[in-house]
């Protein structure tokens, strides 16, 4: 239950958001060329598949591995071992970056929420980071697997919940998503071909500080709301198969957004005494062009309200849970927000579900 108002003195602060992309860039045309031979094994009309890749409006992706290294990754173990190695390395980069921006050091951190849906590790990635970064021995760790694209917003909301209970503490939300390492090359189904055109790799880390932490400043997390859509389990997710994660992706996602998001947003904002017109900064997950269009249409947004989300989609693709944190980071750094401005983060993911996070500068 969230009933905080914009004046709530217990609302935690977002101090910084670090972001990093892996070094191996491939343009969409390079990726299409790499996939073409594979597609031709089963499919006759390759132009149709190329169009599917181009229609997602992604210019290219940054990949965890060089493009020529992927065919050798055949088993789940090979993919997941690569994932553990690269996710740990990229997570270290974003945590160091975010802490530096916040003027903090690893020993200042009380709790790390680590979110991902693209690989599994035990000990989990934040434990491996503890050894690299030397977090304190009493660090609390909450690894979250399975929320998918919604986990950037949901992880931030759960960290804010925690900081209301421990208002002097500092929490990190670390998201590492290496979607390219989940790709099932032998899965030549249309949903997998679309996913291979849309999803990219990246990591992000948000630093949040409780209301009573020394030197806390930045936009506050005023409130959040989770929304679960019953009986929609096959809209999005993984079928876990011997070779790893096989994508489940329905074209119903944009329609779900159109059908529900206006009521969800209006209902949530009403609990805070707000209306859509009160929101100055929209921070939307870059689900894909149809999802962003659905947000714009259902919420009756100005054409440039989601400009940062569109730009992120074009530049790096859908980074799953990291995407909304990328857009949040760019909002913090690029927007001349005034004190009192409201912002709304929105993301959706497997369940099917949504998470909304109300920010106030």
């Amino acid at each position: 239950m969230h009933s905080a108002s914009g004046q709530d003195s217990s609302a935690p602060f977002i101090r910084s958001v670090g972001r990093a992309l892996p070094p191996h860039y491939a343009s969409q045309e390079q990726l299409i060329a790499a996939f073409r031979e594979l597609w031709a094994r089963r499919h006759f009309n390759l132009e149709r598949l190329e169009d599917l890749h181009r229609n997602v409006q992604v210019g290219g992706r940054y990949l965890a591995m060089p493009i020529e290294a992927y065919p050798a990754l055949v088993t789940f173990q090979q993919r997941n071992d690569a994932w553990i190695r690269e996710a740990t390395a990229l997570s270290e980069v974003v945590v160091r970056q975010a802490l530096e921006q916040a003027g903090l050091v690893p020993a200042d951190v009380d709790h790390v929420f680590f979110v991902t849906v693209t690989g599994i590790a035990t000990p989990s990635i934040e434990a491996r980071l503890a050894n690299r970064l030397r977090f304190r021995e009493d660090l609390k760790r909450t690894p979250i697997f399975g929320l998918g694209c919604v986990a950037g917003a949901a992880g931030l909301a759960r960290a804010a919940d925690y900081l209301r209970a421990f208002p002097t503490h500092t929490a990190l939300v670390v998201s590492a998503e290496l979607c390219s390492l989940t790709l099932q090359r032998e899965d030549l189904s249309i949903p997998n071909i679309i996913a291979s055109g849309l999803f990219g790799d990246g990591a992000a880390c948000a630093v949040l500080r409780g209301a009573n932490a020394p030197g806390a400043k930045g936009p506050r997390v005023v409130a959040s709301r989770s929304v679960f859509y019953p009986d929609s389990e096959r809209i999005m997710g993984w079928d876990v198969v011997d070779s790893g994660f096989k994508v489940v992706l329905s074209a119903k996602v944009p329609q779900l957004v159109k059908d529900h998001i206006q009521g969800n947003v209006d209902g949530f904002l009403a609990t805070q005494g707000l209306k859509r017109g009160d929101i100055r900064h929209w921070v939307a997950h870059t689900g894909g062009p149809k999802v962003l269009e659905s947000f714009e249409e259902a919420l009756e947004l100005d054409k440039d309200a989601l400009a940062r989300s569109w730009a992120s989609l074009r530049e790096v693709g859908n980074l799953s849970s990291a995407s909304v944190l990328f857009v949040l980071g760019e909002t913090l750094e690029q927007v001349a927000a005034k004190p009192g401005d409201y912002g709304l983060m929105m993301a959706m993911g497997p369940g099917f579900c949504a998470e909304m996070v109300l920010l106030r500068w």
């Binding site: 132009e47 249309i190 992706l249």
Partner: protein, 92 residues
């Protein structure tokens, strides 16, 4: 109904069951969107499956007059007839 048209309907039934998780029956008079509940992705999966099976290309323009399973089967039959490769060379 011609033999090839029956073969196309059978292939539509296979794609619906195997690739689209459709558990109901598929009859020629069924509306693709209303009765089989196909969305844009489902229609693409169906089109790609038929292109692969019958070695044809279906376009956006082709889809204009297609509403039912029967309409789609007839379109595929016309496409097969208009391609150089005879249907006897079709491979799955």
């Amino acid at each position: 109904m011609a033999e090839l048209e029956l073969e196309v309907v059978a292939e539509i039934r296979r794609i619906a069951a195997d690739e689209l998780e459709w558990k109901g029956v598929v009859e020629p008079q069924h509306d693709l969107v209303r009765d089989l509940q196909l969305d844009s992705l489902g229609l693409t999966v169906l089109a790609v499956g038929l292109e692969n099976r019958f070695r044809i290309r279906l376009s956006e323009e082709d889809a204009q007059g297609v509403r039912t399973v029967s309409d789609l089967a007839k379109l595929v039959v016309r496409r097969v007839a208009s391609t150089a490769r005879p249907p006897t060379e079709v491979r799955s």
